[in-house]
């Protein structure tokens, strides 16, 4: 049973990195296509559209962070990797917010980024506003990140 605990904890870490990473890959790719369209017509826009393209990439970093913290906490990166099934399931659940919210928010943020790139192409003076709109989606990725981090550190202190 103790080996099942570590397996679930590791699965949680993998899901956080995997789902958020997939979301970011899709998102950055989608925004990249839009950015390429914008740069084709006006190469001077590169610097600004690059920022908009990178916005959906943060979820992948958050997923990596959660996976890294989980691996450290469960002893995979060093120390004892022994844990109960209950604790393993708790780590698994703690990783889920980052995985799912990361996946979904990265894709939605990419759509907002693409729309903002279009807006910037038409009205270059609106760049500030164009960044804020997709950045709003980031809020929910950060909330998920916070919940996952708090849960992972909280589980570490539990004696089950």
């Amino acid at each position: 049973m103790s080996s099942l605990g570590i397996a679930f904890a590791l699965l949680g870490a993998a899901l956080a990195a995997l789902l958020a990473g997939i979301g970011s890959a899709i998102g950055v790719g989608m925004a990249g296509e839009a950015a390429a369209g914008a740069i084709t017509e006006e190469p001077g826009r590169f610097g600004k559209v690059l920022i908009l393209q990178l916005l959906p990439g943060t979820q992948g970093i958050y997923g990596l962070l959660i996976a890294f913290i989980t691996l450290t906490q469960i002893g995979i990166m060093g120390g004892s990797a022994e844990m109960s099934l209950a604790k393993g399931l708790l780590y698994f659940c703690a990783c889920l917010p980052m995985g799912f919210v990361g996946l979904w928010s990265a894709i939605r943020q990419a759509r907002a980024s693409v729309a903002s790139i279009g807006m910037f192409c038409k009205r270059p003076e609106t760049f500030g506003k164009a960044i804020i709109l997709p950045a709003m989606v980031e809020t929910y990725a950060i909330l998920a990140l916070l919940i996952s981090i708090l849960s992972i550190f909280g589980i570490g202190g539990l004696n089950i």
Binding site: G37, E41, E42, R111, V114, I117, C121
Partner: protein
């Protein structure tokens, strides 16, 4: 996923949309004193050089649009719905040319989806296999009718109806709301115009029925019944259709109705200015370019013939941007 979203293409078009002619520019163009002033103003916008003829300038603009679309989309067949009228026009010209032996140089248009040489060869050799299936049947029938009856009008009706049916079918098959809506509006507008013309010429019901192409927003049987009764009956029927607002224009003149139809399409595609995905903004751009080419053609022809500003303002279309 992104292939259907046309992300690259739409963002590129967002920059291109800035170069489209807008309402104030069209007003400025109409306000020009002479044809030369118009050409100078258009030249400043990149519309041709002074030594080019008006038609050359307009043709170059259309070519520019399709070259851009060729860069943005791998398979241009998604835009076939916009090219069918040109294909069927070329087919009509080829059939008349072959049947009568008259020269048709200058009558063919180059903006179709099928090269005109293919169409001419198919008609000359009576081998319609290189043409799309629906076009094959229509071409065969129209050729036979013209050869046996020498009735050019009947031949035109057959091919016009076939073109409308093909447009509607392509619109529905596209799976895109904008293309389907455009096809529906095009067919309905053509049906209404045909019904009005038939009413004016007091045509028989069977003739009207043969000329009208079925569509979803009109009951062509009821429209044909109305057409044999006259323009008042057509207007009365249209009151209960989505084209009720067009009745006033229809009574005014065919060109006023045509302008109403063009403006309706422009209003319907305008939301695409804010749509960052799908093929919709690309189609809207094509229609917007066609609309501005049509408007510029009207203004240039008007200026060349010394028509008044008021006359031109009544005929100028609403712009997309």
């Amino acid at each position: 996923m992104s292939e259907n979203l046309y992300t690259f293409a739409v963002t590129r078009l967002r920059s291109k949309e800035l170069e489209l002619l807008n309402g104030p520019f069209i007003d400025q163009l109409i306000g020009c004193k002479t044809h030369e002033d118009c050409r100078r103003l258009l030249g400043e916008k990149g519309w041709g050089k002074p030594e080019e003829s008006d038609e050359e300038v307009l043709r170059a603009q259309r070519q520019k649009t399709w070259e851009l679309m060729g860069e943005l989309v791998d398979d241009l067949s998604v835009f076939d719905v916009f090219l069918y009228p040109a294909d069927y026009h070329n087919l009509k010209t080829a059939i008349k040319m072959v049947c009568t032996g008259a020269s048709a140089e200058g009558v063919f248009v180059e903006s179709g989806s099928i090269p005109r040489e293919v169409i001419v060869q198919a008609v000359e050799e009576h081998d319609y296999s290189p043409l799309p299936e629906e076009m094959r049947q229509a071409a065969e029938k129209a050729f036979r009718v013209l050869l046996h009856t020498h009735d050019g009008q009947l031949c035109d009706i057959l091919l016009d109806r076939a073109a409308l049916c093909a447009t509607l079918k392509a619109g529905k098959a596209s799976g895109n709301e904008l293309i389907a809506g455009y096809a529906e509006r095009t067919v309905a507008a053509a049906d209404i115009k045909t019904a009005v013309r038939c009413a004016g010429m007091k045509k028989k019901k069977s003739f009207v029925q043969d000329a009208l192409a079925p569509c979803d927003s009109l009951d062509v049987s009821a429209l044909a019944d109305a057409a044999i009764k006259g323009i008042d009956a057509i207007c009365e029927y249209l009151q209960y259709t989505p084209y009720a607002d067009a009745i006033e224009q229809l009574r005014e003149s065919p060109s006023a109705f045509e302008r109403w139809c063009d403006n309706l399409i422009i209003r319907e595609i305008r939301p695409q200015l804010h749509n960052p995905f799908t093929i919709g903004p690309l189609c809207a751009y094509i229609l917007a370019r066609e609309n501005e080419i049509k408007t510029v053609r009207i203004i240039l022809a008007g200026k060349r013939n010394g028509l008044s500003e008021e006359f031109l303002r009544e005929r100028a279309r609403e712009m997309y941007v």
